[in-house]
Symmetry: D2
Subunit: 291 residues, 4 copies
């Protein structure tokens, strides 16, 4: 579990999930306690339909006898016994993240500004784009910018270049910040529940392209934005965050795009924050977000 380095990791987070059974919270918290950990925040959820157990435990681990890189080991025997998936992270560890963009700057701007404000533990290590428009913005923040134009013919080959690049940069998480290209199943497979997209509608309303135009033509009174993990089914991935804004007959398509930009920015960073703070568990098509 969890890739960690030894210095200044003091707040550990466990995400742990398995079929529900009696005694799990007790045993997990006992393991934390025996290692000297003081629990700061704990959220547990049992899905009453699926009988799935999910937990997030955050604890102060500075008195631990373990090296951070070995902290996950204390949960391994239990995880194996109950056939659980589990990860240990540290809130002080910045997740290495790549941002994929096309031409719009607002979502990238927002993430970069949040990074500067230290709003969440992120290390924006790379910007990839199929257009040159945002090269200067990346440069202004001293972030490597890679131009990867794509055509129908070159798409799959380009993706191989991108996968190599992501490996080179040791990227853990990818954010599609209004990236106007569909990723192939091969690519998605490599970053399961690690690619966060922002779709500019209140999913499942207005899937596909031009959702604002669809919304305008339908005459809805509220528009939305949805951030989700990317899966092979376009716009069908597990939803992490959504929000909406009121519109009226006075709003033109241009107004919808303008109002939507604010939503997109805020919903994407909200989803990104919960991801970076290790608050999200994925079960099938759905997420559990321990806020």
């Amino acid at each position: 579990m969890g890739r960690v380095t030894p210095k200044e990791k003091t707040t550990a987070v466990l995400l742990f999930s398995c079929k529900d059974r009696i005694g799990l919270v007790s045993r997990l918290t006992q393991l934390v306690y025996e290692d000297g950990g003081n629990i700061l925040d704990l959220n547990e959820h049992v899905d009453p339909v699926e009988q799935m157990f999910s937990i997030r435990i955050a604890w102060e681990m500075s008195s631990s006898s373990k090296e951070p890189s070995e902290l996950g080991d204390i949960f391994k025997p239990l995880a194996e016994e109950v056939n659980a998936t589990g990860e240990v992270h540290f809130l002080e560890e910045k997740t290495r993240t790549a941002i994929f963009v096309s031409k719009y700057d607002h979502a990238l701007q927002e993430i970069l500004w949040r990074q500067k404000m230290n709003e969440f533990p992120v290390d924006i290590a790379l910007v990839v784009s199929n257009h040159m428009d945002l090269k200067d913005l990346a440069a202004h923040h001293d972030i490597p910018f890679h131009y990867h134009p794509k055509t129908k013919e070159t798409r799959l080959e380009q993706e191989q270049n991108e996968l190599a690049l992501l490996k080179e940069y040791d990227i853990d998480t990818i954010v599609l910040a209004r990236y106007m290209q569909i990723l192939s199943p091969v690519f998605v497979q490599e970053y399961q529940n690690k690619i966060i997209n922002i779709h500019h509608s209140f999913l499942p309303a207005f899937v596909g392209s031009n959702p604002y135009k669809q919304a305008f033509q339908r005459g809805v009174k509220i528009i939305g934005a949805t951030s989700h993990y990317v899966t092979d089914d376009l716009d069908e991935g597990p939803i992490i965050a959504q929000d909406v804004i009121r519109i009226s007959h006075k709003d033109t398509l241009k107004d919808l795009i303008r109002k939507g930009r604010d939503l997109e920015r805020l919903v994407l960073v909200r989803a990104l924050r919960t991801h970076l703070e290790h608050r999200v568990l994925v079960h099938g098509r759905k997420t559990i977000v321990f806020e």
Copy 2:
């Protein structure tokens, strides 16, 4: 235009719509002025795409030389000249309204309570249902309750009975307050833009039946409700009002239904209020709501 009776009508409302051209506001307000009317509230909108002109004028008409029933006449020549649709109403006139229900009481309860509080100018003259469940509730409010069960075979015939009943009761507006039957095109044709439905989802997401179940299974983070005029296309009518509420992984299907009930009630009465105050104009699939 506008069905009116002579006493105590003092606040007139004009809804007027046509292809945009220069001078319309000036001419309409001149007509009001010449008749001694003092404008209290005016909203005008020109659709920049369709070049459609829409206006709502509310004015104090107690100094008018006209009988209320003839007030609409002053706009007729202009309406004919510019090929406009127009209606004159009075805010003091209560719209005779029928509520169609099935088994759920919450939307009906809410409307009855609002009527009692005089929150909008409505006269609930009739309750029609395909079930007996809400007979007592109607009786408690001294409102005639008509039981019209429907099967596939009897549906169209029942609708004819209902149309006769609506005529008998002089009904202007119909509210489908969680009525679990689809109305036939013949029926809808008789009450164009006069039948208000509440759909328990954020349309166009989750059309059709069981929207809460669909929402639960999709794992959305927000659910909604939509009130719209009924057209021949199910869930496709012009939207009058929408609202949403936040949900989380903790919410079971039962919780969605409970939270949704609050939305349904509030969205339906909001739509009903704007309709009863003559604030809604329909253009094709869309509404203009002068709030």
Copy 3:
């Protein structure tokens, strides 16, 4: 802890709070586990400023060896050791509740309707009022109605009658559903963190009387409602729930009152639900609400 009766109690809830120390979650969940309990929902919070530990554990206890009335005993030794306050409740147990009203019916109506829908475990056992207006409403729901008019001179004496009445009816929780009287410290003392009020403003804005008029005169663009536990300081008690609604220059004072009614109803029942589901802990002036 917790008053319980033996039959059909299966979902137990522990609320437990003390100065934070290492190992508390582990020990508490161990106690649940040893008694055969299966944890369904657990929320823990450590206040980083005050170093206060708070937890809510909900568990399935049908395999417990204990009688429900004795279930609380298993936490007593630990509670004494760490100087904690703790309560055990059962989600199936309906809290005996009295509603205090004056003339407005909307908040009472709403609570009665929720009770009928089984939205939360409540037993409305008594309505007390300083006016006769809502006697019929209580009667319609077969709830005893007690008329307790109050003047400056009779207030304290009346409160003694009320306290006797509350005891007689075995009342646990009191809801002030737009009750237009201030309760004396003597009365409040008897029902600490058991009296829930709804104030018709976004506290601490517009304390005292006529908050809608204050809001109207100040020209705010949003109005609110606040539900809180009653303390000796008027409008200063720990806040349980708040919500707001947008207004504009078009809204008259009457519109504010109308819009506010919807808020008051919904905020009060939200607060009441969290209270009845034993989700609220009070620390000083503030609440922890485990939603």
Copy 4:
């Protein structure tokens, strides 16, 4: 009325306000019509308490016989007759605006980004600050930055320098984008209803300094931000826009500040947009915002 230059002004806006009387809309729209104007958007409001008439008319004036700079003349006789205040503006004309800041960058960043996106007709001509922190940000956008430190002793003198500077730069509107200094009555007098402030609370709750700390200590469940015109009474000016965000017991003071930043940015730019589009009329302590 209205400072205008001759080229490319095609959408005119009239803001007009006086004691209500019969015929005003008719006469105003007649004047627009006679000058060849085609009305695109009209909002009228009569305050039922104060009997004040307010109107905003937006019209296409390219067929006007008037120079833009003389367009206001057509309303002058009527304005004088009815003792009205009135202004004519052009939506294509960018308002010369100065931003006053201290150390926080978020509000300034947001406004600059909106300007770049052409979201509203603004010309940020000047940044003034009592600190050097944001000099580079202004420079990056090629905007003159003036450092005006203030002490108790130098404050009034500095303000005189600022007033001279504002005149030199031909500034119409001033935005206090988290500017941590109080302006003197002398200064405010020069820019009546032209200085827009953002206060980081839901006014009138938490006036004065450290509103987030006050909110944290009070234990509110929602925090807000308020944008208002600056008057001599601190935090008492006419409110233009407000919004709120939900918080919980989990949010630390640091979280409130972080969440509040998003509110502050969005509420300030919403207020600024309505101001720049000439949608705001001030009556005493209150605003009419024609949205």
